[in-house]
């Protein structure tokens, strides 16, 4: 990458971050809720992107992990525990359950694995609904408190939006580090060819389990933020359709691209809101827009950008070759 290109990227990144901090100051309660939901869902989608996009393991259970995190946070914070401790418990719990869910992936792949994870998603939903002694059953858990940070209450929408945004920033840095570490490379090797990965000493068993566990843990983090965001949870938001939504976010944004979940969550959370002016047609328009996008670019929005950049590089290389050829001919 040229120095200018890198500077431009950094400047663009800083402008987006500044925009995310400053612009919402003027948003109303609903706008802040939607933007906070975008941040939370981006975290969950980043987890699925690690499992699916980077390590190549299909999962239809990410919504269940958001549920596990949400219930862990709701139960703990309504019993007086601080949110950071609840987030930690949500991470550990989701990581452990995700690790166990990874075992089927050692035996089955692709749509078979999708069905195994789908069954888990249904199982988790049934636990949330039926084990009312713990989860409140269909009545759910209400009055979930929002935390105080350094003595500052986050009850109001804007401070809690900053909590969500700050959490997204921390998760983003951690994921960025992970995918650039040998771990990330090993995940990609696993996705591309497990036998090749094994011949290089990648412990495919361990990395498959880790891909599930880390991805699920991020689902847990998202859930632990979702509970205080809505301040009321019941089993319905964590059914299979959330897992499918998260899968769509990853695919539409661009699976295996770092920024894919950010864009995918933006499409899934914000686009239906932007289309509300069409009144009764907004969900239909949204469905058509997603279908057209995936027909045009099966690798998602970032796939389009990637294709454009690859074409530009090819053209630049061809131009350089043509110049070199004409110089050679002139010299002869």
């Amino acid at each position: 990458m040229s120095g200018l290109g890198k500077s431009l990227k950094i400047a663009l990144g800083l402008a987006v971050i500044a925009g995310l901090i400053i612009v919402p100051m003027n948003f109303n309660r609903y706008g802040l809720f939607i933007l906070s939901q975008w941040a939370v869902m981006t975290i969950a989608a980043m987890g699925l992107n690690l499992t699916l996009g980077y390590a190549g393991q299909v999962s239809l259970a990410q919504g269940a992990f958001v549920g596990i995190g949400a219930y862990a946070a709701a139960i703990m914070t309504t019993h007086g525990w601080p949110l950071p401790v609840a987030i930690l418990v949500a991470i550990i719990l989701s990581f452990a359950v995700g690790w166990v869910l990874g075992y089927p992936a050692l035996r089955v792949q692709h749509h078979y694995l999708a069905f195994v994870t789908l069954a888990f998603s249904t199982l988790a939903f049934l636990v949330f609904r039926n084990e009312s002694w713990l989860t409140g059953g269909i009545y759910g858990i209400s009055n979930i408190p929002r935390p105080h940070f350094f003595g500052i209450p986050t009850n109001k929408p804007l401070p809690f939006y900053y909590v969500c945004l700050g959490s997204l920033a921390i998760v983003s840095v951690a994921v960025w580090w992970l995918i650039r570490s040998p771990w990330g490379r090993a995940f990609m090797a696993l996705r591309e060819n497990p036998l090749r990965a094994q011949s290089l000493g990648v412990d495919t068993r361990r990395y498959t389990l880790m891909a599930f566990a880390i991805g699920s843990a991020l689902g847990g983090v998202a859930g632990a933020l979702y509970a205080p965001l809505t301040q009321y949870i019941d089993p319905v938001p964590f059914n299979l359709s959330l897992s499918l939504d998260l899968l769509m976010m990853v695919i539409v944004g661009g699976a295996g691209f770092f920024l894919g979940p950010f864009l995918g969550a933006m499409i899934a959370v914000l686009l239906p809101e932007w289309l509300r002016f069409t009144e009764g047609y907004y969900l239909m328009l949204y469905a058509v827009a997603v279908m057209l996008l995936l027909i045009w670019s099966p690798t998602g929005i970032l796939g389009i950008l990637d294709r454009y950049l690859a074409e530009r590089r090819t053209k630049a290389a061809s131009a350089l070759r043509a110049v070199a050829k004409s110089r050679l001919e002139t010299a002869q």
Binding site: R185, A189, R196, A197, Q198, S199, L200, V202, D203
Partner: protein
């Protein structure tokens, strides 16, 4: 054989109920190129998988540098000094050339200075240095094979198991690949190679092993195998006479 770095003794194993290796026994002398030849189904690739712990053996013992390495994990074998370049294209096409090489260091211990070794590997293959930021899928077949070899050298192996390095390469590229293997041998690395292109491979080899039906039918100096009229018979589909064993 006293200077053997690798000895396989009486290997028995296969896939499911099918037995491929029927008591395979041979030894590979240190700092040599040894080529395994044999007809399809002789168990050539299977013996590599057995050595590299990818096939659970029913019987037999594998010793490397005087140590029993039978059924060790791939990570342990890489750390012991054995690396394996499987048949076909083994690059990760979506990753860059540099990232592909870095993957060779997944099993590296903390005491290994990987960045220095990556630079050394790139020094050895200038074309890879030039194209280090490119996607690996954009390399030619020969360059991809060089990338695989560069990656396998990252842990400074003592023994390289390389399966059909010439497959899908032009004659010029095959020659280049064989030259690289010869230079590795000259630096003290032992090469154990499987090759269908038997004549060319034996020409650059020190020793040859003829495998048939999972058994070693012949172990000798490469030039003797090359000049043995029975080898032609074997590759024409007939079995070797018992006296050849």
């Amino acid at each position: 054989m006293s200077d053997a770095i690798l000895s396989v003794h009486n290997l028995v194993g296969g896939y499911g109920k099918m037995t491929i290796l029927n008591g395979t026994t041979f030894a590979v002398p240190q700092a040599t190129i040894t080529t395994i030849i044999g007809p399809n189904g002789a168990g050539k690739s299977t013996v590599f998988k057995a050595i590299f712990g990818l096939l659970k053996l029913r019987e037999g013992k594998i010793s490397f540098a005087g140590r029993d390495v039978t059924n060790l994990s791939q990570r342990a074998l890489l750390n012991a000094g054995i690396c394996y370049v499987p048949q076909g294209r083994n690059i990760f096409p979506e990753l860059s050339v540099r990232h592909n090489i870095e993957l060779g260091g997944v099993a590296a211990g903390k005491d290994i200075d990987l960045p220095t070794r990556i630079e050394a590997a790139l020094d050895l293959f200038p074309v890879l240095r030039r194209k280090s930021a490119q996607q690996a899928s954009t390399l030619s077949g020969g360059e991809q094979k060089q990338l695989e070899i560069a990656r396998s050298l990252l842990l400074e192996p003592k023994l390289v198991l390389i399966d059909e390095p010439s497959i899908g390469l032009s004659p010029l590229m095959v020659q280049q690949t064989f030259d690289i293997l010869k230079s590795l041998r000259d630096r003290g690395v032992t090469i154990l190679m499987i090759e269908q292109n038997a004549r060319s491979a034996l020409e650059i080899s020190d020793f040859g092993i003829v495998l048939e039906l999972g058994q070693t039918r012949m172990f000798d100096k490469a030039e003797r195998i090359l000049n043995d009229p029975r080898i032609g018979q074997l590759f024409l589909g007939g079995a070797m006479e018992e006296s050849a064993a």
